[in-house]
């Protein structure tokens, strides 16, 4: 099986090279059969990598320790499901997964668009093929998951215990779907520049892919945060860790892109800006993969040891040079068709939004690469901690939230004063009232006040939008529920977007509350002793140990009371994993968590002391659940936005009828 997988990867690499050349040659000489062949090649890449992935999974499940990758990432005691997920536990497997996901996108793009954007598609195919060449090269020649050990060991090193978690099983795949998905709009942008068709076509056909990738990046980030919160046991969910930043940066740039393409679609403006944004977003996605996979951030020295580091840097340099080179070459054709009508318009709100998102991305980028730079230049690593990131990003985020409320309320092109007054009155009053009430109940933190007030403002504007839309429709005689349904289904992009905004508001409220009002205490208790925090009391009832084949576990039991009433037992654990893995982490804390929308009780067993005493860290974390709930709302909104609608079909009908009579009858 392993040989088959190995050869499949190699073939995928060869086919990728062929596809890139065939597509460009076909487009240049107007030979359709070459383009058709390239299209089939794209599908072949998918099948070849599918075979490779399946054969690696086969080896993992059957614990074929003769493969280095299997020996390093599994062990005989590993449950079935984690044998499969160890496909992306290590470097080589992750890169294979990256290539495979790319090939899925590639095949779908070809199947969906090949008969539509004919002038564009060969170059889109060529771009995706070049990306595929790079990644299949890495997997085939540099980080091969099918590398055979000279002697197969009896037992594998096992999967890192912190990776044995349901969230860790899906979070990387989600994030990869986001990272890799960014390749598609990038390929369409490059296709537009290479073919010279710089109209809206590339945006129109890549739009759903952009939203798809953006959604997966968002969900991946939230799942990652949840995983960190549940599994890492330090009480938080976000630490501005380089790997987190790596996913956050393309998200920031991608969010800017998702907004600014709307202006191009509606007004024919910002063509240069959109093109640059998608290049930057793709660069950040590849850079994110690079940071995550090369280990460069932990130390430049690991960079020197890793083979893929320089290759990645070379590829990144190639992408930047080539795409910005094309950009300069086409810059005359990227002129806007229209002009701004007014500073007070949704367009300009979008521009501010874009600048802020990019500013945030740049700040995160600087903070992320600063340690490497300082180590490279001075030999000392200067760490950039959370205070830097928070100081820069919190104000930017607050202004962005403000714009999130402003955008929907002011009109395209031109907003008049009376209308602004009329539309903003209620939401502004609601925002101010929120701040006043919060001050009255004793909240003094300026950032928290600003954040809550702005969230109330945004929530109110979105509510107003829905309310007015429903009112307009129900005046025509629809009952409100039907009016609401039709309002959303007839304007999916608009109202789906608003739902996403509500999700973001919930997330921001959760982040604000849990970071400003967290209470934390470390305490050592003897059996029967209690500790009080806020209106909670915890009584330490005892400690015991149990063993499973995989681990020795120590469990403490605490009874929790709220306002004197018992609310249940909490059992934080500390586990030592048995197998002789030389993993850095073989100890793992299993947090005891009691979660409500009001607050989370988060208990960590730190140490077991003498005479049955134990040391705990107890954290009361308000409204963390709002973040996860916000993530769900965001996902719902994104699905609404992407839900297939009528317009596309009508356009297809039109194009097919008027222009495609002769040509589209040729089907391969």
């Amino acid at each position: 099986m392993a040989e088959t997988g190995q050869i499949s990867i190699f073939l995928a690499f060869i086919v990728s090279i062929y596809v890139a050349f065939a597509a460009v040659y076909g487009a240049r000489t107007y030979k359709r059969d070459f383009v058709r062949s390239a299209e089939n090649g794209a599908l072949a890449i998918f099948f070849l990598l599918l075979i490779a992935v399946l054969s690696l999974i086969y080896s993992l499940v059957n614990l074929d320790f003769s493969l280095k990758y299997v020996a390093l990432n599994t062990s005989t005691d590993l449950p079935f499901i984690y044998r499969i997920t160890s496909l992306w536990a290590g470097q080589a497997g992750s890169l294979l997964l990256w290539s495979f996901i790319l090939s899925i996108y590639f095949a779908l793009v070809v199947l969906q668009t090949r008969n539509k954007a004919r002038g564009l598609m060969p170059y889109v195919i060529a771009t995706l093929a070049v990306i595929s060449v790079f990644f299949t090269f890495l997997v085939a020649f540099v980080e091969n998951p099918f590398y055979k050990l000279p002697v197969a060991p009896q037992e594998g090193r096992g999967l890192n215990p912190i990776l044995q978690n349901a969230y860790m099983a899906i979070h990387p795949v989600t994030l990869y779907l986001g990272y890799v998905g960014v390749s598609v709009p990038f390929a369409f942008g490059m296709g537009a520049m290479l073919s010279g068709k710089l109209g809206d076509e590339w945006i129109k056909y890549s739009r759903k892919w952009t939203l798809f990738a953006w959604t997966f990046l968002s969900v991946g980030l939230i799942l990652g945060a949840r995983w960190a919160y549940l599994e890492l046991g330090w009480g938080g969910y976000w630490a501005w860790d380089p790997v987190e930043n790596a996913a956050f940066m393309p998200w920031l740039a991608g969010t800017a892109f998702v907004h600014s393409v709307m202006i191009q679609e509606k007004k024919g403006m910002l063509k240069k800006w959109n093109m640059s944004l998608i290049i930057i977003t793709f660069f950040l996605a590849i850079f994110g993969t690079f940071i995550t996979r090369s280990g460069v951030i932990s130390s430049v020295h690991s960079f020197a040891q890793s083979d893929i580091g320089p290759l990645f840097l070379g590829f990144i340099a190639f992408i930047l040079l080539f795409s910005f080179g094309m950009f300069l070459y086409r810059i005359k054709d990227l002129e806007s068709e229209n002009r701004f009508d007014s500073i007070l318009s949704r367009e300009s709100a979008f521009i501010f939004n874009n600048l802020l998102f990019l500013g945030a991305a740049f700040a995160v980028f600087l903070g992320t690469i600063f340690p490497i730079m300082s180590e490279a230049v001075t030999g000392h690593k200067i760490l950039v901690g959370s205070p830097y990131f928070n100081k820069v990003n919190v104000p930017i985020a607050l202004v962005l939230i403000f714009l999130m409320g402003v955008g929907p309320l002011i009109s395209w092109r031109k907003a008049s004063k009376e209308n602004l007054m009329k539309n903003f009155m209620v939401p502004v009053i609601v925002g101010i009232a929120t701040a006043v009430v919060l001050i009255a109940i004793g909240i003094r933190d300026v950032y928290a006040l600003a954040s809550y007030a702005l969230c109330a403002f945004v929530a109110m504007t979105v509510f107003t939008e829905f309310f007015r839309g429903v009112r307009v429709r129900s005046r025509r005689g629809e009952n409100p529920l039907l009016a609401f349904g039709r309002l959303v289904s007839r304007n999916k992009r608009r109202y789906g977007g608003y739902i996403v905004h509500i999700g973001v508001v919930l997330i921001v409220i959760g982040i604000t509350s849990s970071s400003v009002f967290v209470t934390e205490q470390q305490t050592t208790l003897s059996e029967g002793e209690s500790v009080e925090m806020r209106d909670y009391r915890f009584t330490y009832e005892g400690i015991e140990t149990y063993n499973t084949p995989a681990k020795d576990a120590t469990v403490a039991t605490l009874a929790a009371y709220k306002g004197g009433k018992p609310i249940g037992f909490m059992k934080p654990e500390k586990n030592v994993y048995k197998y002789e893995g030389n993993r850095e982490i073989n100890q793992e804390t299993e947090v005891a968590l009691r979660s409500t929308f009001k607050d989370d009780l988060y208990l960590i067993l730190m140490n077991r002391g003498p005479n049955g005493s134990a040391t705990f860290r107890i954290i009361i974390n308000p409204m963390v659940s709002w973040i996860w709930a916000g993530g769900v709302v965001l996902l719902i909104g994104a699905i609404v936005t992407m839900w297939p609608g009528g317009r596309r079909e009508r356009e297809d009908v039109f194009v097919r009828y008027t222009v495609g009579e002769k040509d589209s009858t040729v089907k391969v």
């Binding site: 099986m1 040989e3 088959t4 499949s8 073939l11 086919v15 076909g26 107007y30 030979k31 359709r32 059969d33 070459f34 383009v35 058709r36 062949s37 299209e39 089939n40 090649g41 072949a44 070849l48 075979i51 002038g119 060969p122 109209g199 809206d200 076509e201 129109k204 509606k266 007004k267 002011i410 009109s411 395209w412 092109r413 031109k414 008049s416 209308n419 009329k422 539309n423 939008e465 007015r468 307009v472 025509r476 007839r490 609608g645 009528g646 317009r647 079909e649 009508r650 009908v653 039109f654 194009v655 009828y657 008027t658 222009v659 495609g660 002769k662 040509d663 009858t665 040729v666 391969v668």
Partner: protein, 187 residues
């Protein structure tokens, strides 16, 4: 041994699949299909471009209607933008028709209408609102043609006016100009 065999089969299948289009070509050409060239058809390109332009104008008009309906645009701004976009859309549709007529084919819009109906019968959802706007643009276009042949005159002062004007731009006489007024009421 088995591995080698499987590998050869996989490689062969991939090669056949990828080279398939080259063998298919001969068959298609003999069937009288000239479509194996990718050489751009200028008429097709132009129509595509115009169609894209039309779509973006339609959505802009829809947005304006919406913003006006929700009270985000003042009446003057709404009317100004609305008529500007509609005139532009009418121009685009005219150009599209010219291209279609130039090749002695049925007018684009009639066929489009038919296709939409058929699509609907097949159960595709087509936006009502879009259709409304489309109708209005058609009206605006007819009006612009009418204007070219015999200009509309204000019954009060005799100066020319546009089909979608509500009031005479010269004397301010209320005109029974159709589209805008109707729309303002329906929104």
């Amino acid at each position: 041994m088995l591995d080698t065999a499987i590998t050869i089969v996989i490689a062969a299948l991939a090669a056949i699949f990828i080279s398939l289009p080259f063998f298919r070509r001969a068959g298609n050409e003999s069937a009288g299909n000239p479509g194996s060239s990718l050489r751009p058809n200028p008429r097709m390109e132009q129509l595509k471009e115009l169609n894209a332009r039309k779509e973006s104008l339609l959505s802009a008009i829809k947005d304006i209607e919406f913003d006006y309906g929700l009270g985000k645009l003042s009446r003057e701004d709404y009317e100004d933008l609305n008529s500007r976009y509609k005139v532009e859309a009418a121009d685009v549709l005219k150009k599209m028709d010219e291209i279609a007529e130039g090749s002695s084919e049925a007018p684009v819009e009639d066929e489009l209408e038919k296709e939409i109906k058929e699509a609907r019968m097949r159960g595709y959802s087509v936006y009502e609102d879009d259709e409304e706007i489309e109708k209005e643009i058609l009206m605006a276009r007819e009006a612009s043609w009418a204007r070219e042949s015999e200009e509309r005159r204000c019954p009060e002062c005799g100066s020319a006016y546009d089909a979608d004007d509500l009031f005479c731009s010269k004397c301010g006489h209320k005109l029974d100009g159709d589209t805008n007024k109707q729309h303002a009421e329906s929104v």
